[in-house]
């Protein structure tokens, strides 16, 4: 490597640079530059041919001028000429200029590529390296197209010099990252793996980087790297501190290479070969042992490098999550770091420990550090360290320490940084609910939350406390008493008023016996807050008042007076005005009985995953490490969680809007004619009543469709018809689905309501609603005849593996359906994981003595669990790129079956469930969408793009999701819609 020497000539350059540095003003600088530019221009244009040295010098000056921020519009040709020089320094300056200044559309690109090609073939290692560096630095697609095929050859050629191999590996890595499709896989991949055995550490380091990147896409092709990486690692770890000479950094042998090897191993599961595994475990133990030995150097560099390896070792141990002994040792090591004087180490230890806490083997060991972590939360001066401590407390929390952790987090909340308050609030709320043993503690905790950080308590949190109080008889009295006391504070947060208003409206009667909280006192306490509150809260309070009239008839006159006041009846806000008018009328017109029915206590809320948990996950975003851990831990601790539920064992699936009904702006009593009762309340969610439903006939378009498309007889269901009964607990076998089943199903891919099936006897209507991974479906069976159906029994069957993918709970329906009558069946659906085949609906009944049976496909397809996701164009493309593995993409080109109308297409895509993103695709004709499929076990991100070609009457549909079968399945589903 030529060293920099002052005597390397280019005095002119040094003079020029120092001139520029000495310029007193911007103007002087520009003047000096212009002078120089004129000089260089005249030299380049001059008749006299310039020698290489002068060319190099002038090109260098131009480069310097460019780097100062000026445009350079000449000199490119001279730079390209330098490429063919045989002098290293000249060639090097040429390449430097090219890398910085030449863009891909330049006409010179052919000349440049030619020069690069010559250098690559030159067998001069220095020149080859320069060429490779240039390709990597430009890294453009064009460069990739020109050279991607050559570089693997250079990389694995037996006669390539070490430095060339190293540069080739990095160059290939760069090209692969820029455009993976250009790098051809082939027999060279196997030989790349063997570079891990190379004698030259630089080559090994470069090769590890390359393999780590490549193996993510084709893990199987590079499987053999595991054993090679282990033996390489073992050699490094066990080498003496000076064995590796240049690659020893402050007495630590090859720290960065070790880290890279450990990271490569994290791409794979633990090695199966016992010998390899034994050797690896030995390595990991050696690293842990070394951490305990006295340092070989007092220098901080030494310990930093050592700790880098240690942290990576611990991540690998956590990744394997199979060696209890190592996990506990890792935990103890991190425990030591928790009290280290270096902030960096404390931060990293907290971060690693957070992932350790989710392993069943080390959870207990992590818990022993609770006091240190709490202390960190109190005393750390760095907010990011405190945040890590809070995360760790959350992760290590279980029933045994919940009270301590929650109270510490509450205390921290009082002084916490604003940026993280909402997250802490969510975490406290979740822990309090998850590990609540007695619910008075839970209620206290949440009320404390509102008191301390009311502004950061989101709707989900206070909705949740109301749900739990409503569902638990034993805590209602306590809750009423506590909120009553809390409301007596002179200044209380509006969220407290909301919770208080709701709870007193429901359960105020439980404390009315005490003269200190008699009904008039309760009312005046609430009403004293009324005027300071926002419209939403006031609306809620009005509902509380009407409930009071029902609970406490003695307050009727006072409350009617309040409702009648001009400020209510003529309130500028329509919602408040309407409530005042309706409630006033309701209270004066309805008899006590009617009032008692209408304003009956809220029925218990159906249980499901806490909405707060969902919110926390959303906040962290899918893919965030700790969010995943939450999921893992939740799964394992479901039994504990179940304690909260009134019906603990059932995985029941509520109406998605059930909880919101009572809590959103319009509480159920607000709709005066609505009779009470859970079922009916839920039906109200839909815009029209159930009676209006089955009248929907097939639209002409659909009729057209059914003529056009022959029924698909090759339906996979035919295969499933046999195994299905085995999975079905039902008493009888069910028949194969009717031939039209697929087609009927297709009609419901983009819509949720309509007629699923109709013949002379029976009409089946569907109404459904889906949110997150939950759904509720109403099936309406209409008897079209005048004769009663007997033994009417509709059942849902899960063919094949579906049982583990989708939980469908059905309610029984009456066995008789009178002529002309309609019965309704409610299905609660929970998507557990991604699924490909829909469940079957089997309907049997006797009509006039003859048994009838019918098997349909239930219109539940994976896209129903889509959550639309809005994102900016940039995010979209970034994610699109991230999902670039070939299996993640599914594409279909197909002929349009319907007229190509942009509005109809839009409606279909929205009905499909994805968000439509405008201004993402440069072509306005195209549609781009994004969404997340929510299942209980995992979330699948999904991006789609539909390109209509009106001329050819064709579409091209491309789906990319993080899960391969899902891409294909969605693509097929959606393609049938156009």
């Amino acid at each position: 490597m030529p060293a920099v020497s002052k005597g390397d000539g280019m005095r002119g350059l040094a003079v020029f640079i120092s001139d520029i540095r000495n310029c007193k003003s911007k103007e002087a600088e520009i003047k000096r530059i212009n002078k120089e530019l004129a000089n260089i221009r005249s030299k380049f244009k001059g008749d006299k041919a310039l020698d290489g040295y002068s060319k190099k010098k002038y090109v260098c000056k131009l480069l310097f001028i460019f780097l100062l921020g000026h445009d350079i519009d000449f000199g490119h040709m001279e730079a390209v000429n330098l490429l063919s020089s045989n002098k290293y320094t000249e060639k090097q300056i040429g390449y430097l200029f090219i890398s910085v200044l030449v863009n891909s559309n330049s006409e010179l690109i052919r000349l440049i590529n030619n020069a690069i090609k010559n250098d690559l073939a030159s067998r001069n290692p220095t020149f080859m390296c320069l060429a490779l560096h240039c390709i990597a630095n430009v890294g453009s697609r064009e460069m990739g197209e020109a050279f991607a095929a050559d570089i693997p050859r250079i990389l694995v050629a037996g006669d390539s010099m070490d430095s060339v191999k190293q540069s080739a590996a990095l160059c290939l890595l760069r090209l692969y990252k820029a455009s993976p499709d250009l790098v051809p896989m082939g027999e060279w991949t196997a030989r790349v793996v063997h570079l891990l055995n190379d004698q030259h550490m630089g080559v090994v380091t470069a090769a590890v980087s390359l393999i780590t990147c490549l193996c993510k896409k084709n893990p199987d092709d590079f499987k053999t790297c595991v054993s090679l990486a282990v033996s390489r690692l073992s050699r490094i770890v066990s080498s003496a501190s000076t064995d590796l000479q240049d690659y020893t950094y402050y007495f630590v042998p090859a720290p960065w290479l070790s880290v890279k090897l450990l990271r490569l191993l994290q791409c794979y599961p633990p090695p199966e070969d016992a010998a390899v595994k034994g050797r690896l475990v030995e390595c990991l133990e050696t690293v842990l042992n070394k951490a305990q030995e006295p340092p070989k150097s007092k220098k901080v560099q030494h310990s930093n490098a050592k700790n880098a390896i240690l942290f990576e070792t611990i991540s690998l141990i956590i990744h394997y999550d199979s060696e209890p002994n190592l996990l506990v040792r890792a935990c103890n090591q991190l425990g030591q770091f928790l009290q280290h004087r270096e902030t960096n180490l404390r931060y990293l230890a907290l971060e690693s420990m957070c992932t350790l806490a989710s392993s069943e083997f080390s959870h207990e060991a992590v818990k022993t550090h609770i006091d240190t972590v709490i202390n960190a939360l109190k005393t750390e001066r760095d907010v990011s360290v405190r945040q890590r401590a809070a995360d760790l407390l959350y992760a290590m929390c279980d029933r045994s320490n919940a009270k301590q952790i929650v109270s510490e987090m509450l205390r921290y909340l009082e002084t916490a940084d604003y940026a993280i308050r909402e997250e802490i609030v969510l975490k406290v709320a979740i822990l309090a609910e998850k590990y609540a043993v007695d619910y008075s503690w839970y209620v206290d905790t949440i009320l404390n939350l509102i008191r301390i950080a009311g502004d950061y308590v989101s709707e989900e949190v206070w909705y949740r406390v109301l749900q739990i109080v409503t569902n638990r008889d034993d805590v209602q009295g306590y809750a009423a008493k506590t909120v009553f006391e809390a409301l007596q504070a002179p200044a209380c947060h509006e969220n407290m008023v909301k919770v208080g208003g709701y709870i007193l409206g429901e359960f105020g009667n439980l404390i009315a016996g005490d003269p200190r909280s008699s009904p008039p006192v309760q009312f005046s306490l609430l009403h004293s807050k009324f005027h300071l509150c926002s419209v939403a809260t006031r609306a809620l309070l009005l509902s509380t008042y009407i409930k009071f009239i029902n609970l406490f008839p003695e307050t009727k006159a006072t409350i009617q007076g309040v409702l009648r006041a001009g400020s209510q009846l003529r309130n500028a806000d329509v919602e408040l005005q309407q409530r005042a008018v309706e409630y006033l009328t309701l209270s004066s017109v309805a008899s006590t009985d009617v009032l008692a029915t209408v304003l009956e206590e809220m029925p218990p809320f159906p249980e499901r995953e806490s909405s707060i948990l969902a919110k926390l996950k959303r906040k962290k975003g899918p893919g965030a490490g700790s969010a995943l851990d939450d999921g893992r831990r939740d799964a394992s601790s479901n039994d504990i969680n179940g304690g909260v539920e009134p019906t603990p064992s059932t995985v029941s699936t509520p109406s998605p809007s059930a909880d919101l009904l009572g809590l959103r702006a319009a509480p159920p009593p607000a709709a005066p004619p609505a009779p009470a009762g859970a079922g009916n309340l839920l039906v109200d969610v839909f815009s029209d009543g159930p009676t209006a439903q089955p009248s929907l006939g097939p639209t002409p378009e659909q009729a057209f469709l059914s003529e056009l498309e022959p029924p698909a007889p090759e339906s996979p269901m035919a295969l499933l018809a046999d195994p299905a009964p085995a999975a079905d607990p039902g008493p009888e076998d069910i028949g194969p689905p009717i031939p039209e089943a697929d087609e009927l199903l297709n009609k419901f891919v983009c819509k949720n309501n309509g007629v699923l099936f109709e013949n002379q006897l029976l009409q089946i209507g569907v109404k459904s609603e889906f949110r997150q991974n939950l759904g509720r479906m109403y099936l309406f069976y209409g008897n079209k005849t005048s004769v009663q159906f007997q033994n009417f029994s509709p059942t849902v069957v899960h063919p094949g593996d579906l049982q583990t993918q989708l939980a469908v709970q059905t309610k029984r329906v009456a066995a008789q359906v009178d002529g002309g009558a309609q019965v309704q069946q409610v299905l609660n659906i929970e998507c557990l994981r991604d699924f490909l085949t829909p469940p079957l609906l089997s309907v049997r009944f006797r009509y006039g003595g003859a048994p009838q049976s019918l098997t349909l496909k239930l219109p539940v397809t994976i896209n129903k669990f889509f959550q639309p996701t809005e994102m900016a164009a940039q995010d979209f493309f970034q994610r699109w790129k991230q999902l670039s593995l070939p299996l993640q993409e599914a594409q279909k080109i197909f002929k349009a079956n319907h007229p190509m109308d942009a509005e109809v297409t839009k409606a279909k895509l929205l009905g499909f469930g994805s968000a439509l993103l405008d201004n993402v695709d440069p072509n306005p004709e195209n549609f781009v969408g994004a969404g997340i499929i929510q299942t209980k076990a995992l979330q699948v991100g999904c991006l789609l793009r539909l390109e209509p070609n009106a001329q050819a009457q064709m579409y091209r549909l491309t789906l990319r999701t993080s899960k391969e079968p899902v891409s294909r399945h969605l693509c097929e589903l959606l393609a049938q819609q156009f």
């Binding site: 490597m1 630095n137 380091t205 700790n307 880098a308 990576e312 902030t343 001066r381 990011s384 360290v385």
Partner: protein, 128 residues
């Protein structure tokens, strides 16, 4: 994975930048301003890792010069932290004192050398 490598002085001027992921030129300026702002506001008691948007910044200060590396969450913070120091030692070796100004050719040399030591870093070029 390293997303970018920056050398910024205390006045907030970028002395050297290299991006390993495409970032538009006008967004770079904004990013660099924000990055240096968050580094300057830190005290000695705070750790050298900053969570910034969806990635992490790892920084070290040498007199008036900050070296900041942006990485995604699969990177080993400690390894990068020490790598910065290694890089500075190499610069020091070549130029005896790491000042603010590097002329383009010296930039090339030092980057070549740094690449030798840790190939993770492809050549970085001065650009202002």
């Amino acid at each position: 994975m390293i997303k970018f490598f920056l050398m910024v002085n205390k006045q907030g001027q970028t002395r050297l930048s290299k991006y390993y992921e495409h970032v538009e030129i006008n967004k770079r300026t904004l990013l660099e301003t924000e990055v240096i702002k968050s580094c300057l506001s830190r005290s000695n008691e705070q750790c050298s890792f900053i969570e910034y948007k969806d990635f992490k910044l790892i920084y070290r200060q040498y007199a008036a010069l900050f070296i900041v590396v942006g990485v995604n969450d699969t990177e080993n913070e400690m390894a990068i932290y020490e790598f910065i120091h290694n890089f500075v030692e190499v610069l020091d070796e070549y130029f005896s004192r790491v000042g603010q100004g590097l002329n383009p050719t010296s930039g090339l040399y030092c980057m070549r050398q740094a690449t030798e030591l840790n190939p993770q870093l492809l050549p970085i070029y001065t650009c202002n």
